[in-house]
Amino acid sequence: MSASAKSSSTYISLDSLLKSGRAQSEPSSSGCSSSGGSGKSSCGSAAGPDDMPAHIWEKVKNHPCYSEEAHHHYARMHVAVAPACNIQCNYCNRKYDCSNESRPGVVSQKLTPEQAVKKVLAVASAIPQMTVLGIAGPGDALANPAKTFKTFQLLQEQAPDIKLCLSTNGLALPEMVDEIAKYNVDHVTITINMIDPEVGERIYPWIFYQHKRWTGRDAAKILTERQLEGLEKLSAKGILTKINSVLIPGVNDEHLLEVNRAVKARGAFLHNIMPLISEAEHGTYFGLNGQRGPSAQELKAVQDACAGGANLMRHCRQCRADAVGLLGEDRSDEFTLDKIEQMEVVYDLDKRREYQQSVERERQAQHAAKLEAVAAAPADEDIKLLLAVATQGQGRVNQHFGHATEFQIYEVSGREAVFVGHRRVDLYCQGGYGEDEQLPSIVNAINDCHAVLVAKIGACPRDELLAAGIEPVDAYAHEFIEKAALSWFADYRARIARGEISHQPRGDARIRQGAYTAAA
């Protein structure tokens, strides 16, 4: 096994990441600065056609998970045909299944391959921007090879334009790579949380491999070897890979820098570092034992520290194994088995292509607006801060504050506005009235931001946001996000120059845990 953990001079603690010299302005006493970190424009899934070979761009440009830009325009769906799993993770509890909850490993209705295909065709007819079908569990796609590959085979015959992808823990991967290639699966996600069995034994209580249940370091050693071998084989076949890592503070936080190097060395295309979700009510080992998830700034610090390694993905929504729609929305309720039975499904390839061409025109306009805004921006970079944006897609500031179930986070300097993450929140506005008790949780979720860009906002939340030091901004309604962010920033700088305001660092923010109850 070639990838044992190497000791490294760049091995640094989460604390020192947070306090690293990357910060442009000094952190406040809370220890975190909103201007810390370097969201690089070259980083990761934000990359565009100029950053990669044409054949790879062709594969990722319409994939919402592989291209940050695409995720504003294109939708994905997961079909839950793979409930079985061959390992146990401390952040997963297979007993819990509530449709009100949004997290990986959870699903309300498992499907046969035939039912899955029917659902895909129904969704593709209703949502023409749905370009990607993934099998992500709720167990492990490759622990259910018969059902997974049967679904792919049927879909290739009936909906050849839909891209296929799967996600796996990697234990069964090395022997499956040929089969994966056979069905033209061109995107595979492997969850790799460690490359060191000492770290791994704190994440995985057991694995089932070659008719035995393995525990402790033996289990973690087998798992990491199989994962990295599988990754190497996929890379050798030219199959694009995304590595998902769950950031578990105190367990694998700084270790993820080593994981980042190891997976990059083996050809991983993207590295997606996600926050641990661990509420006691989920009943997971971590949840029940008080293992906390990271704060927003802790997550960003690790992501920023990895930014020079494998490309980083920051727009993952950790969606359910039966999610449908744009990332950040879930329309699976519209496509339950009994509902699709009654739908008239017409798979019209021409209509889908036509729609996607109109999306492409919109997207090019967004790209042009971004280039224009960046070109017009001054080159100095003495302030860097975070902005929250309410958007319902198309890359525009086009959502009412009260209707937002998440905010997208952009890091803005004089030179550029870079997507660095998203924050899920409880819906503020229900039935036309603002819910005042929701507001503190929204403030907590974007507390590291200087302003929030919205299409519209009511008087009450406006005042409360201002009191919390977050500027509500509706002056750029329906503009493209990057352009709006840079315009606001220029105005912010001008106000500082005129002495009207002074630039203050912001605190940390909380990553929303628990049920995704905000069904819009």
């Binding site: 409930p83 079985a84 799993c85 061959n86 146990q88 297979r94 007993k95 299944d97 498992k110 709720p138 167990g139 622990a143 259910n144 018969a146 059902k147 089932f208 008719h211 035995k212 249940r213």
Partner: protein, 82 residues
């Protein structure tokens, strides 16, 4: 003893393919074990495969089908002759 699946079962499908005796099948609500086919993996493996892979530990011994190791081995031999 044969094994049985309790109502803790989450229908995750993981046990069915690992059973060397094809004793496990999807029932009306949850997976079920045919006691005439279950040898607790005697003859095939050291330990019952379904117990080892079940994520919710819902496959105990079935007290209504008590068998000695010798009886299980007999059952195994009978089954592989079929």
């Amino acid at each position: 003893m044969a094994l049985k699946i309790t109502h803790e079962c989450i229908n995750c499908d993981v046990c069915e393919p690992v059973c060397p005796n094809h004793a496990i099948s999807q029932g009306v609500e949850i997976y079920e074990i045919d006691p005439d086919l279950c040898t607790e993996c005697v003859g095939h493996f050291d330990k019952p495969q379904c117990q080892l892979i079940c994520p919710v530990s819902c496959i105990p011994l079935d007290p209504e089908h008590e068998e000695t190791p010798a009886q299980l081995l007999d059952k195994y031999r009978r089954l592989i002759r079929l």
